[in-house]
């Protein structure tokens, strides 16, 4: 399937490949189960395609990279019956958009050609679905036609993400790459059956490396990561938080004049966010970082991110004896003589001075607030 936006290879840009598979017709609870598919004890997923579509929508509508604007977007989705996809992406999808082996192979050829067009290109890959992750470095994504009758090998309906990553990680293609693999880690008894990975879709591995090609592998032993009806996977939720809500954003630096999300920030923030979200659902999910780790910027923000600021005063008795002045670092006053507590407002990220003028028995205070996205909550003890 070609790009769902007009592909432009005349100048450097970002090229993306998105695959999301929730529908597996040939496993036990599918429409067309096979003995091979039944033997894996897998279940249909409900949010993998939706999660992938959500990431595609973010790329289409919010992704900002002045040096490498989005110039192609290939999307293959196999949603489960009733699975709601992002409407914008849904509208752009052609009738044949299922994530089967042949479709993925075809898209991979186009995606690779697009990435090879300029070394200054950026490649972004996001895949979601059932997977088999047996190590910290590799993962196999099962495609819609996994375990279909008559296939030559067990993994014919699968894509070996580590091998495809290795095939793209060379000096002759997009030198900045980001790979996100959002796949369940199967139970050991199942995983052991994929020992050799023979038959899974892979690429030849050229010599050398791209400059940056980090591979973020989400893996969970549980099924709940994909089981939240109407939602996205936990990994997707964490990634969208990092990008949309600027949870992984840092201030301008290096060659970037904008706030940005870098490899370092993603490595720092994403695993913790996923782990925390999973823990809140009684799951244990980790994120492994493989590939070639090098600093690079995934996303920039055209405007300074805003932050929801929430400040309380303790003890409560101090609140009707205190007024706040909030000023930006450049001296511009944001709030003057504010006396509503808690103080709740939205401000641009930055360093601020907060002055609290208090009457007896409390003392006035001044402090510096470091306000970073997406939220800033703090309490001040009045003395």
């Amino acid at each position: 399937m070609p790009s769902i936006i007009n592909e432009d290879l005349t100048q450097p840009g970002t090229h993306a490949l998105i695959i999301g598979v929730s529908l597996y017709p040939h496993i036990a609870d599918g429409d067309d189960p096979t003995p091979e598919g039944e033997s894996f004890q897998l279940e249909q997923l409900s949010t993998a395609a939706r999660s992938a579509a959500e990431f595609a929508a973010w790329l289409l509508n919010e992704y900002h990279s002045p040096k490498a604007p989005l110039r192609s977007l290939r999307v293959l989705l196999s949603p489960a019956p009733g699975e709601q996809l992002n409407a914008v992406i849904q509208a752009l999808l052609p009738p044949a958009h299922a994530a089967t082996r042949s479709a993925v192979e075809q898209d991979l050829v186009g995606f690779r050609a697009a990435c090879d067009s300029h070394r200054d290109n950026v490649a972004i890959v996001y895949v979601a679905g059932h997977g088999v992750q047996m190590t910290k470095h590799g993962s196999v994504l099962l495609l819609q036609d996994f375990a279909k009758q008559g296939q030559l090998s067990r993994l014919q309906g699968a894509i070996d993400m580590a091998a495809v990553h290795a095939g793209m990680n060379h000096p002759g293609t997009a030198q900045t790459q980001f790979w996100f693999v959002d796949a369940c880690r199967q139970k050991p008894a199942i995983a052991r059956r994929f020992e050799t990975l023979t038959g899974a879709l892979a690429l030849d591995e050229p010599n050398g490396n791209a400059e940056a090609s980090p591979l973020f592998l989400a893996a969970t032993t549980g099924s709940l990561a994909y089981g939240r009806l109407g939602g996205e996977s936990l990994f997707n939720e964490a990634l969208m938080w990092a990008l949309r809500q600027a949870g992984a954003a840092e201030g301008p630096g290096g060659d970037d004049q904008y706030w940005r999300v870098t490899v370092t920030q993603l490595i720092k923030v994403l695993p913790d966010r996923v782990k925390a979200l999973a823990a809140a659902h009684g799951e244990n999910q980790s994120v492994d970082v493989a590939g070639k780790v090098h600093e690079a910027t995934l996303h920039t923000y055209p405007k300074t991110p805003t932050v929801e600021l929430h400040i309380n005063l303790n003890p409560a008795a101090a609140q009707n004896k205190s007024q706040a002045n909030l000023a930006q670092g450049n001296g511009q006053v944001i709030l003057l003589n504010h006396n509503q507590w808690p103080l709740v407002t939205e401000v641009a990220a930055g360093l601020y001075t907060l002055s609290i003028n208090a009457t007896v028995p409390y003392h006035s205070q001044m402090t510096i607030l470091e306000i970073k996205p997406p939220q800033c909550q703090t309490a001040i003890e009045m003395l």
């Binding site: 047996m134 190590t135 910290k136 470095h137 590799g138 580590a162 091998a163 050991p188 008894a189 995983a191 052991r192 020992e195 050799t196 591995e205 010599n207 490396n209 949870g247 201030g251 301008p252 490899v263 370092t264 920030q265 490595i267 720092k268 923030v269 913790d272 925390a276 823990a279 009684g282 799951e283 244990n284 980790s286 070639k292 780790v293 090098h294 600093e295 930006q328 670092g329 990220a349 930055g350 360093l351 601020y352 001075t353 002055s355 003392h363 006035s364 205070q365 001044m366 402090t367 510096i368 607030l369 470091e370 970073k372 996205p373 997406p374 939220q375 800033c376 909550q377 703090t378 001040i380």
Partner: protein, 383 residues
């Protein structure tokens, strides 16, 4: 013309090398990166609010917020030592509710003014500092050291809260990676011990501590703080600062490679360089590590990985990989690399040997704790 303020930043570090080479960032009130310094260097800054930060040897970003005005001249010290007594990067480092200090654990606020004194009290505000001890074992759960191999227990410490830690040093003669067996609630945990056979206590030691991970009591093994460079790399890696850790590995060449003061630290450095795609230039070092420290099994994996890329070296590479498959690993990363290397072996031949090795390694996979940096196996004991 406004008078510039002057700031000099000092880093307190146990290591001269770390103190001299750790980059210090200065960001203005919009979080724009305005200066990068090294220890002792001076920055001339306009009036305003600034964040001064560095990632230090505890693997945490330490920050000072300062308000400079009227030509003030200040010296700021970033110090990891106090926190080193108690703080370790825990498995869950970020809370769901983001905060202004979400990416940092250590922060202090200073307001420096020259000229007229402010009539307000200067406040120091802890912006959501969360002590990240990561050590919160369930009360009353007995943890017993059953046995150790290649290492001896030097000391066991128990805090008033009942948290225990075990300090190991290496046995005089090592023939494989040192490890210890612990019994916890009907489970046997075997964890590799990152000791150093080249030094005296505590320069040869490691510490095993308990943590809670996704609701389960687990163990983690840490290089002793006294092995400054190796400990710093481990803490930075654990905290998600892979590139910072790799920079240390790159800059600590003499310490890690030539003098062999700490082969386990050298191995960790090599793994970090491998992660950022910079190990190939150090092939000679890896070869020496593999030949001089036969017990340090992981070095064979790294050498095999490097040699496997060349057809002429494939036989030696596979021999190394097969040998490595028969003994325990120090780091989980090496185990993962070995599995992937054997599974995706790029050359034909010796298939039976690879298959046997893979089968043997795969037997351990279900019991491997992938969240642990040190190789970690957990078995349920039979009744």
């Amino acid at each position: 013309m406004a008078i510039k303020n002057s700031v000099t930043v000092q880093l307190k570090s146990s290591s001269y090398m770390l103190g001299e080479t750790s980059p210090i960032e200065i960001r203005d009130s919009g979080f724009n990166l305005v200066k990068q310094l090294l220890r002792g260097q001076r920055a001339e800054l306009d009036d305003g609010l600034y964040e001064i930060s560095a990632v230090l040897e505890d693997g945490q970003k330490h920050r000072h917020l300062v308000h400079l005005q009227g030509g003030s001249q200040e010296e700021i010290t970033l110090d990891a030592h106090e926190a080193m007594q108690t703080v370790r990067p825990p498995p869950q480092r970020v809370k769901l509710a983001s905060s202004p200090a979400a990416e940092s654990d250590h922060e202090s606020i200073l307001v420096f003014t020259a000229g007229a004194a402010s009539d307000m009290d200067m406040a120091s505000l802890d912006l959501d500092f969360e002590p990240s001890s990561g050590s919160a074992p369930e009360q009353g759960v007995p943890i017993e050291l059953a046995e150790s191999h290649g290492a001896v227990l030097k000391e066991k410490r128990t805090t008033a809260a009942g948290d225990s830690s075990w300090f190991f040093e290496p046995s005089p003669h090592l023939d494989s990676v040192p490890r210890a067996d612990f019994l916890i609630q009907g489970r046997k945990i075997t964890i590799s011990l990152p000791v150093n056979p080249e030094g005296y206590y505590p320069l040869n030691a490691c510490e095993v501590v308990t943590i809670m991970n996704a609701g389960a009591l687990e163990l983690r093994a840490w290089i002793s703080h006294e092995r400054t460079v190796a400990s710093t790399m481990q803490h930075m890696l654990a905290a998600g600062y892979i590139l910072h850790a790799a920079r240390i590995a790159s800059e600590a060449g003499e310490l890690l490679r030539d003098k062999y003061q700490d082969p386990t630290g050298a191995l960790l450095g090599a793994l970090l360089l491998q992660k950022i795609g910079q190990l190939e230039p150090h092939r000679g070092w890896v070869r020496n590590l593999a030949s001089d420290f036969d017990w340090l099994n992981d070095s064979k994996v790294l050498l095999a990985l490097l040699l496997s890329r060349e057809e002429a070296q494939q036989d030696e590479a596979l021999t190394l990989a097969l040998r490595a498959s028969t003994k325990p690993m120090m780091f989980t990363e090496s185990y993962s690399l070995l599995l992937d290397l054997l599974r995706r072996w790029p050359w034909p031949g010796r298939q039976d040997e690879r298959h046997t090795a893979l089968e043997s390694l795969a037997m351990m996979t279900p019991y491997t704790n992938w969240d642990s940096m040190m190789f970690y196996q957990m078995n349920t004991l039979k009744e």
